[in-house]
């Protein structure tokens, strides 16, 4: 298993380590997932997400290259902007969901999922053009996420940069505790906060500095368990669950990301065709009406017949009710539709709801 530059920080904190996408990652600290989750909602949590991949793309053809490779409109980005986007194959299937950061004119940083980093890299390299250089920076960067309503309070004393100058979904180079880094106002929890791209060799110093500075404000280290329950309460998709190579953006509530009129991109023809022809299934959010916790893979049932399946589910720590994402036939995928989840052989009533499940304060 691969280890992030912070592996020893996690074991020193008695984190429980699990394998995730061939990485040895902390799933929780001794405080437990529920406390970590609540702390991010009310104070702040610090996550090591260094397993994510980072690719840099630069050169006079970088913008054109990314316009072709991704579904969102890269030309709309100003320097310092970030954009959620997708890599599709020719069939409109989702290879990965990514963030595109515009660092400078014709210079971009892509953040990709750990489990897809290798596939993404080969896919991008296979379409490389001479006027756009690709560099895999995954080994050079540690990525920390500081998330929660106290994030600004904790971070501001550590940098001379006024944090207010970084807009939501913005990124800027800065120094923290004397260490150069890229600071982005992005995250995967629904809470205000930052993601920090730090030189791998300085990761432990920054980790400790942040935890010490944040302690009076309630900051604790958090694991992937809380990261998953936090993103699920927001209805954010996770590649490999809601979105896969076999799903398209239309089916998975990601049509807002797709800019069909921006010009050609890989997957565009397939998406146009599916948009014209229609599609059968729709990703929905649902809450349990009956007791029980939906889990990935459980069948969704109407009239005692399986018509879909759960892609992710959990007990919502904030709402204390079973919540899930899953596919239903498009014709019944409207809020308030009642259906059942087959929970280990028993049909339990559930209801389609508007996302997000949880509204941040």
């Amino acid at each position: 298993m691969k280890q992030t530059p912070l592996f020893h920080e996690h074991t020193e904190h008695d984190a429980r380590i699990v394998e995730f996408a061939h990485w040895a990652m902390p799933v929780q600290y001794p405080t437990g997932t529920l406390v970590e989750h609540a702390t991010v909602r009310t104070a702040a949590g610090l996550f090591d997400v260094s397993h994510m991949g980072e690719f840099e793309i630069a050169g006079p053809g970088a913008t054109a290259f990314l316009q072709k490779m991704t579904v969102n409109d890269v030309e709309s980005l100003a320097v310092g902007d970030a954009q959620y986007s997708l890599l599709l194959n020719e069939h409109g299937g989702i290879i990965d969901d990514i963030i595109v950061y515009c660092l400078a004119v014709d210079q971009y940083l892509l953040v990709v999922n750990a489990g897809n980093a290798e596939t993404d890299w080969h896919w991008l390299m296979a379409h490389q053009r001479e006027d756009a250089q690709l560099v895999n920076r995954s080994e050079e960067y540690a990525l920390l996420a500081l998330q929660g309503p106290k994030a600004d309070t904790i971070l501001q004393p550590l940098t001379t940069m006024p944090l207010g100058t970084i807009r939501r979904f913005g990124i800027a180079p800065t120094h923290l505790h004397g260490i150069p880094m890229l600071l982005a106002r992005t995250g995967y929890t629904g809470e205000p906060g930052y993601e920090m791209f730090i030189p791998a060799k300085d990761a432990a110093l920054i980790w400790r500095t942040l935890l010490a500075a944040g302690k009076p404000h309630g900051l604790i280290p958090c694991g992937l368990g809380a990261r998953d329950t936090l993103r699920l309460e927001m209805g954010y998709p996770l590649h490999g669950h809601e979105i896969t190579i076999k799903t398209t953006p239309w089916e998975t509530r990601l049509s807002w990301v797709v800019k069909l009129d921006k010009g050609d991109f890989i997957g565009r023809d397939a998406l146009s065709a599916q948009k014209a022809a229609g599609w059968e299934r729709q990703l929905v959010g649902f809450t349990m009406v009956d007791p029980g916790i939906p889990r990935a893979g459980y069948p969704l049932i109407t009239h005692h017949k399986p018509v879909g399946y759960v892609t992710s589910g959990t007990m919502s720590p904030s709402l204390r009710v079973g919540i899930g994402l899953g596919f239903l036939p498009k014709n019944i995928a409207q809020p308030h539709t009642k259906f059942s989840v087959d929970i280990r052989g028993t049909e339990r009533l559930a209801e389609v709801v508007q996302l997000p499940f949880y509204h941040t304060q």
Partner: protein
């Protein structure tokens, strides 16, 4: 890891406490630690009959689903229904308030298959590596 010396244990990490021909059943400290935060408990109804080795209920943590296996056969004479609203009791007090069910045994010989506290400690040490 706490092992209650008054109890006997199964390989599925349940504890049982015997009074006459009635056993109280719960999951061990090792089991609740491995599961993490328990967020849902489903128990059988009073009057249900259970067979040794079969699932009688479910304990779910944030990430995992775990069956509770009947350590002995018999009739459910009580279920700890407050766990429905307070599943965290399983983490907080697994040998006390976090108990699951009481079973009136139909075959007292089944007790012989259970482990002593010392044997269970050895078993966990071996399983945990």
């Amino acid at each position: 890891m706490e092992i209650d010396k008054e109890c006997k244990f199964t390989k599925e990490h349940e504890w049982i406490r015997l009074e006459d021909n009635v056993v109280t059943v719960g999951i061990t400290d090792y089991a609740q630690t491995q599961l993490g935060d328990v967020v849902f408990v489903e128990l059988p109804d009073e009057g249900d009959t259970v067979t040794k080795g079969e699932s009688l209920g479910v304990v779910e943590s944030v990430k995992a689903v775990s069956d509770i296996f009947a350590p002995v056969s018999g009739e459910i004479i009580a279920a700890n229904s407050p766990l429905k609203d307070q599943p965290e009791q399983v983490n907080a007090d697994c040998y006390g308030e976090g108990w699951m069910v009481r079973i009136e045994m139909s075959n007292i010989d089944e007790l012989e298959d259970l482990m002593s506290p010392d044997d269970y400690a050895t078993f966990v040490a071996a399983e945990h590596g």
